[in-house]
Assembly symmetry: C2
Homo-oligomer: 412 residues x 2
């Protein structure tokens, strides 16, 4: 069902010097399945992350945050990541924390690191204990597999109900040197049926000091993974990690420098590509929908309205049906919570078709024009608020019978 989602090709995924990847089939929930991934980083690498805001944040997320903070304070670098699928280790209390720590300790012992130099990630069933012995038993196999040109296997190893692996690469020339950026992501709902979570990992070989990487990871997340919605559910395990291996020094020493701007543009672009892949593989998705809200007083109100449209089951089912039932979009704008919105100045477009003019039906709008756009697999909804100059974009998909089937039938 994926909407225009390209299958990644291993040879197109650029290795990142200073970063090796290895997978294992650890049998965590099912056998004969890549379900464990290890990443080993050079000692020059810097790592930054943003995590779910869900109060039920999973044990590995709590450990990740603590280890990243410790690395920031002590300067002792993060040197490895370990990611398992099949179990989210969320809603698991103290035992869950102990299991996440035990995973880190086991990998650290095998790689000659301290436990605090390892970041753990889990995705899968919530409320069930992590089978930590199977995770630990799989680590040697993953370590034996460590190599730099292993990104496609890595993308496959973090899949849960994704229909396709998600990976992409790009390069950018900074001061005459080529910087590579490669990333992988997973997720087919903001929370997967039971196999929870969106995960994103982007790595560059550029050298980026910690405070600058901390800034960049937030900037990239805000313009990519924080702009997508499938069903409005925020996972307990969502994580986005940015790694700079440090192999290529291109003087990214200030967020105001032209070097930073070039790197940031490439990282943000790749992150958007990876985030959009999650929407394209959204559970049951048949349409890829871009929602752009313009001329707002603030970015926040533009995002509120864009998400209100993007979360509306009625809007999403209308898109599934290719039915230009566009009053539903106006209704979703109206209940977005922008209290002083003057709808009599609002304009609505579907691609190039001007649907609503000054808050009412555009007299020139013809249903057949709306119908033509609705039949496309990629559609842009554009709202002009006539209140200011702020704007925001959100990417989403439609709501189909298959969404219900996937989520109702998954565990049965």
């Amino acid at each position: 069902m994926a909407v225009n989602l390209p299958l990644p090709v291993a040879s197109n995924l650029k290795p990142i010097t200073g970063l090796e990847l290895g997978y294992a089939q650890a049998g965590i929930r099912k056998t004969n399945r890549k379900d464990l991934l290890v990443m080993r980083l050079d000692h020059n690498a810097t790592v930054a992350g943003v995590f779910t805001t869900n109060r039920f944040c999973a044990a590995p997320v709590q450990v990740c945050k603590a280890h990243l903070e410790l690395a920031r304070q002590t300067g002792t670098p993060i040197r490895a990541l370990v990611i398992n699928t099949g179990n989210a280790n969320a809603g698991t209390g103290e035992a869950g924390l102990a299991n996440a720590n035990e995973t880190c300790a086991a990998l650290a012992a095998l790689l000659g690191l301290t436990q605090q130099q390892v970041l753990p990630f889990s995705t899968g069933v919530i409320l069930e204990p992590l089978p930590v012995d199977r995770v630990k038993a799989g680590l040697p196999q993953a370590i034996a597999d460590l190599k730099t040109d292993n990104w496609l296997n890595a993308a496959e190893a973090i899949m849960t109900t994704d229909t396709q692996p998600k990976a992409a690469s790009r390069t950018v020339s900074i001061n005459g040197k080529t910087v590579s950026i490669t990333g992988i992501s997973k997720g087919a709902g903001m929370i997967k049926p039971n196999m929870a979570t969106m995960l994103g990992y982007v790595a560059t070989d550029a050298k980026v000091p910690q405070p600058i990487l901390d800034h960049l990871v937030k900037q990239a997340a805000d313009k990519s993974f924080n702009c997508i919605t499938i069903d409005g559910d925020t996972s307990t395990n969502d994580s986005f990690i940015l790694i700079a291996s440090g192999a290529v020094d291109v003087n990214v020493n200030s967020i105001d420098s032209p070097e930073y701007k070039l790197l940031a543009e490439a990282v943000i672009g790749l992150s958007q590509e990876l985030a959009q892949m999650i929407v394209r593989d959204g559970e049951g998705a048949t349409k890829f929908i871009t929602i752009t809200v313009e001329e707002g007083a603030t970015i926040e109100e533009c995002r509120k309205i864009a998400y209100s449209i993007g979360h509306s089951p009625l809007v999403k089912t209308a898109f599934f049906a290719s039915d230009p039932n566009l009053g539903r979009i106006l209704a979703a704008i109206g209940y977005a919570g922008v209290d002083d919105l003057d709808v009599s100045r609002l304009n609505l477009y579907l691609d190039d078709v001007w649907v609503a003019k000054n808050g009412g039906r555009n007299p020139d709008y013809r249903e057949e024009d709306g119908q033509r756009v609705m039949k496309q697999s990629e559609i842009t909804i554009r709202v002009r608020l006539a209140r200011g100059s702020a704007s925001a974009t959100v990417w989403t998909c439609d709501l189909s019978h298959d969404y219900v089937s996937i989520n109702a039938d998954y565990r049965s």
Copy 2:
């Protein structure tokens, strides 16, 4: 598909002295269908209402608010209501306002009233002009039908895609006098596919001064129609109207009086019954779900969490599947936006089954117990926050294949 929704019986619906109802088949969108309702009120009646917070509030809602405010200021009473289905008169701009006013003027002329003594309501397609001539042409037929024992026809006349009419009655004895309360409602989504809107009308023969009725309508709405959700979409036309015909004087002269408390309890109870009927007839509903959040610091945070659970497509599809995939409920609690929530103190129950204890899986919880409850058609989710003494309840339904079918296929 309706869940335990009783079919109303005309003889059980108590007439309200001082209030007559009459319907017509006006052919507004389809022929041979009750689609126009007129209510005529005695000159002693008081009327109060609460309306959608949607910024795209429909033309009739704007006119209702203005006429109610005028009645409050001048003391000239509201004497009639007119309700059409088939067209929402929303997203229709100035022309929509003119059509709503023209409808009021036409009914006022026929009944010897001023235009401002009439309240108009519309429910149906958004973004299309109201066929005001058909509405006006149907008025004489509705007026000819006016009588007090006409509540079942009234309930049928305001239906859109409801599968059943929704009506109920009760009586309460106050100071030895019998007070009757009868109400009707419609809606099968917070917004119907295209045929938008939830409408509720509750009438009593008690005499209730305007300021007290204004208080009671808000109190009743907050505990009934404001506690339901089907898909989270808030219509452009939602209206809840409380009418006191004034025929029975039982000294409801202060909101602190015992008389008020008796009346309020009955009005709130009936309003809850009517509101729950909307959920029971929710589009595609197969389960009726009560979500109670207890031990909160504030009612607001309890409502936030209850709605977060009630809006989650993942929770709703799990209930459709009778799958005790209860980590989804924890995830929805976690992203409800209660920033300082300590999940390690939280307890979750499904009816009598203790699922999560202190934020993790209850060691005594057995999947077969969860499974047993999930198979029921009526289920209570109970969350204890251990933060205070506030509580809130929300009623919702599951998300089924039929929800998608109804909303995707309706206009096609």
